[in-house]
């Protein structure tokens, strides 16, 4: 590999790599606005100019390729002066309305001014007046005064969605981003534009004026709204102690993964986060007739364990049934298989999932669950629930609330009335709530640790992007507790205490997960 010198440091970088990427890989940041790793070099913002020994002019780090022996300076006086110059130009015509700008706190223009600018403005002229809230799409609003014309949005629409909805209108200082008259940008990826805008020019009405970014906690997660497994960041507010407001998710952003979702997520995933906060089950209750008793998970578990024990004792294993869904982790499928099928010999194992949707040919898949592939690979045989088969059971463990959506309420009621004990492990309220004996709140995937297998068979680690604060426990914990208390395959289950341990056991048994 060619070796180059960046600020007197020897950096090895692949032939053809740009100086900017080579420097970044060596931990040397080079400021830039228009450069985005997903697009061809643009070279228009002029922020990434660097000095190369033997070159008469400053050169673009974003488009100059690595060549053996190049001596690059990223902090020489000439470079520092040029950066200040670019910042001075950009800020001269910038409205400086940071106090009311959503981007404040994560704005490249703000950050670079702090780092490379810090000069007093010498602009004495009148700033150009421009449109402050130009509607670009259902959710996106363009502030043309804040726009620095980096054209990332235009290039996204040209190179990624290939819809070519936007372009530059007019010339010189009057240049502005525009779209076709009366034709809004309308594709399932438009939300990415607000994320890639380096300044507050494109804002998202879903997020606009709702909070300030410095109040938000950002955690890594995997989108679970379809089977693609896009890598995301969840930005949430933890809630305030003195008010009744609890945790709230404000925004979901794409997180780069070149093997799954590149730099993007679809709007279905981006704007579909309300379910994380709304309609959640939070109280663990035991219902007897009209009375509801609030229980701890340990108490509820004891009652369920007693029930299972007596059925096993009476050799009535066939009178137990379990309904699962595909929004569980690989570990949970593995534990369910071990406990219900292999341990307790339950044959009535069903699958109730949300209905299929429409794919968009890019990231969004038809399957709107996160881990159906994981279910397949674990090898748990499930079939669609036949209501007749449920009728007359002594114990039914229902995981997920999806059964309520796929069946008529009257039929469901009729069948479940004929089941003696029904326990529901659900993250969200549904029509099932009134038909069961136990409601055990569980976290959604975003609140869990474990792994997911995406549609292409890629196993991705999932780390809780949000804290779970309901009464219940994650399904993997519930399954482990039940197994340990029931002494089912005791030697096997006893050492397992975390999703990591379960995953190691899974790897030993299923070569797919190695």
């Amino acid at each position: 590999m060619p070796r180059i010198l960046i600020d007197d440091r020897v950096v090895e970088a692949a032939e053809g790599l740009t100086l900017l990427r080579a420097a970044e890989s060596a931990g040397i940041p080079i400021p830039h606005f228009c450069h985005h790793p997903a697009f061809a070099p643009e070279g228009s913002c002029r922020m990434c100019l660097v000095e190369i020994e033997g070159y008469p002019k400053l050169e673009l780090a974003c488009s100059t390729a690595v060549k053996e022996g190049l001596k690059v300076r990223t902090i020489s006086p000439k470079v520092v002066e040029a950066r200040k110059g670019v910042l001075e130009f950009l800020l001269a015509e910038h409205p400086l309305d940071c106090p009311i700008c959503d981007k404040a706190g994560e704005c490249k223009l703000q950050d670079y001014f702090e780092e490379y600018g810090l000069f007093r403005s010498q602009f004495k002229e009148a700033k150009e007046k421009r449109e402050k809230k130009f509607k670009l799409s259902r959710n996106l609003i363009l502030d043309r005064e804040r726009c620095i014309l980096c054209t990332r949005c235009i290039r996204f629409l040209n190179e990624i969605t290939k819809t070519e909805d936007a372009g530059i209108l007019n010339r010189g200082i009057h240049s502005e981003v525009g779209i076709y008259e009366s034709e809004l940008i309308d594709n399932n990826y438009a939300g990415n534009l607000a994320q890639i805008c380096p300044v507050g020019a494109i804002t998202d009405s879903d997020f606009r004026f709702k909070t300030r970014v410095w109040f938000l906690e950002s955690r890594k997660s995997i989108c679970s709204l379809c089977s693609r497994g896009c890598n995301i960041t969840i930005d949430s507010h933890p809630g305030q102690a003195r008010t009744v407001r609890t945790r709230r998710v404000y925004r979901v952003r794409a997180r780069q993964n070149p093997d799954v979702n590149f730099h993007w997520i679809c709007d279905y995933g981006r704007y579909g986060y309300a379910y994380l906060d709304e309609g959640r089950e939070d109280r663990l209750v035991w219902k007897k007739g009209d009375t509801e008793t609030r229980l701890s998970w340990d108490k509820a578990a004891q009652i369920l364990i007693e029930k299972v024990r007596s059925l096993v004792h009476l050799q009535k294993n066939s009178r137990m049934g379990v309904i699962l869904h595909s929004n569980l982790t690989n570990e949970e499928f593995f534990l369910a298989d071990r406990l219900f099928r292999k341990g307790l010999g339950i044959e009535k194992l069903f699958l109730a999932d949300p209905p299929l949707g429409k794919g968009d040919g890019f990231l969004l898949t038809v399957d709107r669950t996160a881990n159906r592939r994981g279910l397949q690979e674990v090898g748990l045989p499930l079939h669609d629930p036949d209501l007749k088969e449920l009728s007359g059971l002594d114990l039914l463990l229902i995981f997920g609330h999806y059964l309520a959506a796929g069946t008529s309420p009257a039929d469901l009621k009729g069948v479940l009335e004929k089941v003696e004990t029904k326990a529901l492990f659900a993250s969200h309220k549904s029509g099932l709530d009134g038909l069961v004996d136990f409601i055990i709140p569980v976290p959604v995937l975003a609140e869990k640790d474990g792994t997911l297998t995406n549609i292409d068979g890629r196993v991705q680690p999932l780390i809780a992007g949000l804290d779970f604060d309901g009464d219940g426990v994650p399904e993997w914990r519930a399954l482990l507790d039940l197994a340990k208390e029931l002494k089912v395959e005791h030697k096997y289950f006893a050492p397992l205490a975390s999703p990591k341990a379960v995953y190691r056991a899974l790897q030993k048994e299923k070569p797919f997960f190695e």
Binding site: L49, E81, G85, V86, F89, L90, I168, R171, G172, S175
Partner: protein
């Protein structure tokens, strides 16, 4: 008079018609090149002639042609840059209007030398009559077998089409010209890749100025040595100087490269008009840094002008007299580049507009003491930092006016 090459037949009535042109020995060079020379021999002759580009940058034409790769599966294109937009420049208009077939002849020979079968003449939108004249000439050339399939029975094919621009100065920049020709917004491209390898429709492309190509037939007919003798060893041939401003006889003057600027103004253009006094000269189109009256005793060639920090550019000489306010000159320059900046890159888009705002304020008598320093600082932040040469084209004349005529400009500041 005998030193004229390109304009030698301008006096001939109806020269733009092919029969008249043929009567003056026209298209002989095409016959010589296509029948008696290999493409490599033509290329070699042009290289040896040290013909430097007449559009402004002065890049040797033969070297440019030599960059075009010959063994690629893509077609190759020739673009004739007839988007003569540099203020003060009007030589190409004269050339195309009086002698369109000379340009076509040069186009055919250049295409033959580089192995090109499609050429486009990108002409500025305002030159409507010239475009019509060119189209007429092209039709005549097709009828007479100088264009189309199997030219002169030699097996060489070439099609030529005229494309009219829409009035943007930036489209004279070669890569913006390509974008415009492709039907896109005229925004300059990042270089590299250079048009010689990735140009029009992603294919190898030669872009030459009208005057550059018009020289080619003479090089083929008379040889490189003859051509060099017409000018300078490193800078062959003549140059058409377009003189405008406060002179008695404004117009075009074809003179050997290296003719003294003073000679051009005072001998050829008849000296200053109405007894006016010379104050300054812009020697190579508006983007060339200005010269004071005491700096005009220098030969007009690329290297001599570069030596005094200016440039020969398009050889458009703009003569400014003592009564003309340098603030007015600065206003014209600042307004033009602010108006014509394409807006793509930051320093040019905002820098030219900012300078224009300051200059306009100076013009209203609302100047402040640090304004001239500000203009110099801003122009320095544009210079050498933009995506295309337009940034330098704006910054250099503005810097030179502010530096050389600072005292006069300070006179427009309100007294403290």
């Amino acid at each position: 008079m005998d030193e004229k090459v390109l304009t030698q037949h301008f006096g001939v009535e109806g020269l733009f018609r092919i029969e008249v042109y043929l009567g003056q020995g026209g298209y002989k060079a095409v016959e010589t090149a296509l029948r008696q020379m290999t493409p490599a021999a033509v290329l070699d002759e042009v290289k040896r002639a040290n013909l430097r580009g007449r559009g402004g940058a002065g890049f040797p034409a033969g070297v440019k042609w030599g960059f075009v790769p010959q063994n690629v599966p893509k077609p190759r294109y020739l673009c004739v840059n007839a988007d003569e937009g540099e203020p003060g420049t009007f030589k190409d208009r004269y050339l195309m209007n009086h002698n369109p077939h000379l340009l076509l002849e040069g186009t055919i020979i250049a295409s033959y030398a580089v192995g090109i079968h499609a050429a486009f003449i990108y002409i500025r939108g305002e030159y409507e009559n010239v475009a019509l004249r060119l189209e007429g000439a092209i039709a005549e050339a097709y009828r007479n077998g100088y264009l189309g399939k199997n030219i002169l029975g030699t097996g060489f094919d070439l099609d030529v089409a005229v494309h009219r621009g829409a009035g943007a100065y930036i489209c004279g920049e070669e890569t913006a010209l390509l974008e415009s020709l492709e039907g896109k917004r005229g925004h300059p491209r990042l270089k590299p890749p250079f048009p010689a390898s990735v140009g029009l429709f992603q294919s190898p492309t030669v872009i030459n100025n009208v005057e550059t190509l018009s020289n080619i037939p003479f090089i083929v007919q008379n040889g490189a040595d003859w051509f060099i003798k017409k000018g300078l060893p490193k800078d062959g041939g003549t140059r058409i100087f377009g003189v405008s401003g406060m002179v008695k006889k404004p117009g075009i003057y074809e003179l050997p490269l290296g003719t003294k600027l003073r000679t051009i103004i005072f001998d050829h253009a008849g000296g200053m008009k109405d007894g006016k006094q010379l104050k300054a000269v812009i020697p190579g189109g508006m983007s060339a840094p200005i010269l004071r009256a005491d700096e005009i005793d220098l030969p007009m060639d690329f290297d001599s002008l570069a030596g005094v920090g200016s440039m020969l550019g398009s050889a458009a000489v703009i003569v400014i007299d003592r009564e003309t306010s340098m603030l007015d000159v600065l206003k014209a320059v600042a307004k033009f580049y602010s108006h014509e900046s394409c807006g793509q890159c930051t320093p040019c888009r905002i820098g030219t507009a900012w300078i224009n705002k300051i200059v306009k304020r100076l013009g209203r008598g609302e100047g402040e003491q640090d304004d001239i320093d500000s203009i110099i600082r801003l122009a320095s932040n544009i210079k050498g930092k933009t995506l295309c040469p337009l940034g330098d084209a704006a910054a250099l004349p503005i810097l030179s006016i502010c530096q050389k005529f600072r005292r006069e400009l300070e006179g427009y500041l309100p007294h403290a």
